[in-house]
């Protein structure tokens, strides 16, 4: 769970780095070039199977753990507990499921279209690429998609805020100085990553 989670945490940074390129030029050349690289590089193409495995392991373990945890308390309390806890830790299954629904939509709307669908080509001085950027812009001009995207990504941010530090605790790392540092880095990471992802639909919807 923790190892798969940390793996996905690093993946999110790579994914964001490429996404954000779309904001840097109006011709979408940078982004389309990066997308072309991701779609054609053999190393990336091989590694994407490892990535799928990471997702599947994390998702399946998440459900298994949650079901076991529900079974462990067959009778609920009348008065809900309000012990001092890591707040978002209470909602990992809820935020996780919304992110999973988003992931499904993201695959149907974007990933499969880019991989297998007919995509218009666009020519730059550097070469001719699939115009993946145009698909992104089209999606982010739809207000409902933008709203759903923003909600999902905010919930992903909450998921990460707990998950980041939780992964280290599960792996046995708990230290007087390092643990507060990990928590701080986790908070900074989840805010920056979420803000980065959210900036893209907002800028495209309002300014492109």
């Amino acid at each position: 769970m923790s190892l798969a989670g940390l793996f996905l945490i690093t993946f999110l940074v790579v994914h964001l780095t490429i996404n954000i390129l779309i904001l840097f030029d109006d011709t979408r050349e940078l982004f389309n070039q990066a997308a072309h690289f991701m779609l054609t590089n053999p190393l990336i193409q091989t590694f994407q199977w490892v990535l799928f495995a990471g997702f599947i392991i994390h998702i399946i373990l998440g459900f298994v753990l949650q079901i076991q945890n529900w079974i462990a308390r067959p009778m609920r309390y009348e008065r809900k507990g309000f012990s001092e806890t890591s707040y978002f830790s209470k909602f990992m299954i809820h935020t996780g499921v919304i992110v999973l629904i988003f992931l499904g939509l993201h695959f149907a709307n974007f990933f499969f279209k880019v991989k297998f669908g007919p995509i218009e080509m666009i020519a730059y001085e550097s070469g001719v690429y699939k115009d993946v950027g145009a698909l992104v812009v089209a999606l982010f001009k739809d207000i409902w998609y933008v709203i759903f995207y923003i909600i999902s990504l905010l919930l992903l941010g909450f998921h990460l805020q707990h998950g980041f530090q939780s992964a280290f605790q599960s792996l046995g790392l708990n230290h007087k100085t390092y643990t507060p540092a990990i928590k701080l880095i986790g908070n900074i990471y989840s805010v920056l990553v979420t803000a980065g992802y959210l900036a893209i639909p907002i800028v495209i919807y309002f300014f492109k």
């Binding site: 462990a72 008065r79 309000f82 830790s89 530090q165 605790q169 792996l171």
Partner: protein, 253 residues
Amino acid sequence: MDLTLRIWRQASAESKGQFVDYQVQNISADASFLEMLDILNESLVMKGEEPVAFDHDCREGICGACSLYINGRPHGPDRGITTCQMHMRNFKDGETIVIEPWRAKPFPVIKDLMVDRTAFDEIIQAGGFITVRTGGTLPDANALPIPRAAAEDAMDAASCIGCGACVAACKNASAMLFVAAKVSQFALLPQGRPEARERVQNMVAKMDELGFGNCTNTYACEAECPKEISVSHIARMNREFFGAKLSAPLKKE
């Protein structure tokens, strides 16, 4: 002060329970919570009703017998104490207090607010000890020089009284803090080291087998533990567990 008590009543392990409301009057703010329940029970006995069953023994916070999930928190609203150490000054006049038993599959209700915590004994039996006989002919444990930091840390873990508040507080009904405290107190001391690998694996296996939930690091256990045992012991147990899984087992005779 006058209070409304909303208490879980269940005649036996097999019967179906329900909440019953009781009124208590003229309770002193200096009374302990269990004294308040004693007053209620006396009035019930006078009326010829069945008194409320709850666990208690030493009434000074060291035996681990008392429990009670009070207004959404194990051992009530105060920090770092057991139910028996809590006083009525923590409540307001006219307040409704909801009192429930620990809720977890491995802790079935025996009667009213009493639960069966044999599951914890079973975890201890799975490895929460050292196999050499102590006392008598062995050299005194205090004769072994132990670094102060390790002794302190082991003592903190050993302050666990096995009350089960960690399980009750955890949204997953996980027993990780209890098991971690027991694993830690031995793992930190030279007497416990030789059997540390077997101990952690056996105790964790027993904990899972008994049906306790999984740890998702919410840290509610640490917040509610009457002995304020740190979740750093859970991390130590995780380290011990991974280490034990990766290393060769001891030879069995």
